[in-house]
């Protein structure tokens, strides 16, 4: 492990230790927050009992669907927008201000449009993740050296082949950065939507537990969400790093 990694680990351990002490000596009311060791025990018994498996599967499944749609649509849109200069000039300022839009405010409207099922939640996950993928894909495509495009033309490659074999591989590290954002955003989108108005999923369960002072359910769920998003993020980061290393960039 690197030195920075060790310090980071120590920092997290110190914060957790402090929290543990604060709860044990009563500075923090156990009704507000539980000791970290208790959260882990609760998480274990929650998973072992299996009573929330359905909610976990629903949320993770919907987030995965939102993630996949956001990445595939984002990459394809990035490729198209990159080719159309006018469209790009029109959209660039919108992308820059996009994340100022409170997407969740549209949730009631989305329920009207898409019904009461999972669709509005997935849609919000996609809406949040999609633009991050587009922006990073465009950034990567801007950096494809011109000489590679000339090479493609000399080889008689059509635009589709050029995208598949030259521009996308060349832009891959940037697209992965976009995908990392999409993991976080699709989870936030789906869980946030469940929070507001839904009858199932981890967001709903957290909200329900919160209203019932059920800390033994709320904190383990939060930990589970954190663990899932950090794990996926680290996997993509590792992939990204190996790509960059191969290119002598890290």
């Amino acid at each position: 492990m690197t030195k920075a990694g060790l310090i980071r680990l120590a920092l997290i351990a110190a914060l957790l230790g402090m929290l543990e002490v604060m709860v044990r000596i009563g500075r923090i009311d156990p009704l507000t927050m539980q000791a970290p060791h208790k959260m882990v025990i609760d998480l274990y018994s929650m998973l072992a009992s299996g009573k929330l498996n359905k909610a976990i599967a629903k949320t993770m499944g919907n987030a995965a669907i939102a993630f996949m749609i956001a990445v595939s649509m984002g990459v394809i849109s990035g490729l198209l927008i990159h080719r159309l200069r006018r469209l790009r000039e029109t959209l660039d300022p919108l992308f820059a201000t996009y994340y100022a839009i409170p997407v969740f405010a549209f949730y009631p409207l989305l329920i009207l449009l898409l019904g009461l099922g999972d669709a509005p939640q997935i849609f919000i996950g996609v809406m949040l993740g999609f633009v991050a993928v587009v922006v990073n894909t465009l950034n990567g495509l801007d950096r494809v050296p011109r000489v590679l495009l000339k090479t493609a033309r000399v080889n008689g490659m059509n635009p589709f082949e050029t995208a598949l074999k030259i521009t996308l591989p060349s832009a891959a590290p940037y697209i992965l950065t976009g995908a990392k954002f999409a993991v976080a955003y699709s989870l936030i989108g789906v869980i946030g939507a469940e929070f507001i108005m839904s009858t199932g999923g981890m967001g709903y369960e957290i909200s329900f537990a919160y209203n019932n002072f059920d800390n033994a359910t709320m904190y383990p769920l939060i930990i589970l969400i954190l663990t899932a998003s950090i794990t996926i993020n680290m996997l993509i980061s590792r992939w990204e790093k190996s790509l960059l290393k191969r290119r002598g960039l890290q």
Binding site: P145, V147, K150, R153, V154, N155, P169, S170, R247
Partner: protein, 269 residues
Amino acid sequence: MTQPHIRLTDVEMTFSRPDGAGEDIHALGPIQLDLRHGEFFAVVGPSGCGKSTLLELMIGLSTPTKGSITFEGKPINGSCPDGIGVVFQEDASFAWLTVRDNIAFGLRRMALDRREQDERVEKALAMMGLGEFADVYPSQLSGGMRQRVCIARTLVTEPRLILLDEPFGALDQQTRLLMGDEILSLWRKTGATIFLITHALDEAAMLADRIGVMSSRPGQLIDIVETNWPRDRDSRIVEEDAFGAVTARLWRSLRVESMKAIGKKDARP
């Protein structure tokens, strides 16, 4: 076999300004040029004289405003004909592919059986001295080695005409001389016609059978120098008196043009 390998007839290139304002830029021409089968032709000229524009026209990346270009008797129209290979000045290696896959890139698109493809790749690896680097990525190689990868990638498609756009421009002088030797031996082994664009007079004088001198913009051929070197030659030719004479003649033709290119309007021969 009196037909030239590639023929440029009255080729001119004019760029209009993108915003539509101001005068059009007359970048090139008119140019007349016939390349013989199997010759080594070099073009030298001041910077900005349209050398690279000329190359882009010859590989069909752009279409001349006036005139025509025919390769082996057929006109070049908007795409690069089979049989022409290019090596660019910039590093065009693919960072995400190993050296071997880089070299095989163009071949994989050809209708050849896989064994023949693999044999050609191995041959090119050996010929360019890349054998031991076959499975590494370009980022682990020096600039000179990466340029060899690009040359090998072009070679495996067995082009009959090879265009080189200042391929050694980014390399140091010693490496350039040695790469020159390698290009000469490739030229002899493959029997291809070579068209080399360079700004280095000594490089042109050392490598080429004929050297075309281009004027400043709009680029035209103002002189063609025959070197009369034997086909079997290498970089040691720089020791010959005739080498000095060729370089001197090139500079005599180019000096005024180069001065114009850097903005000295009152340049006198």
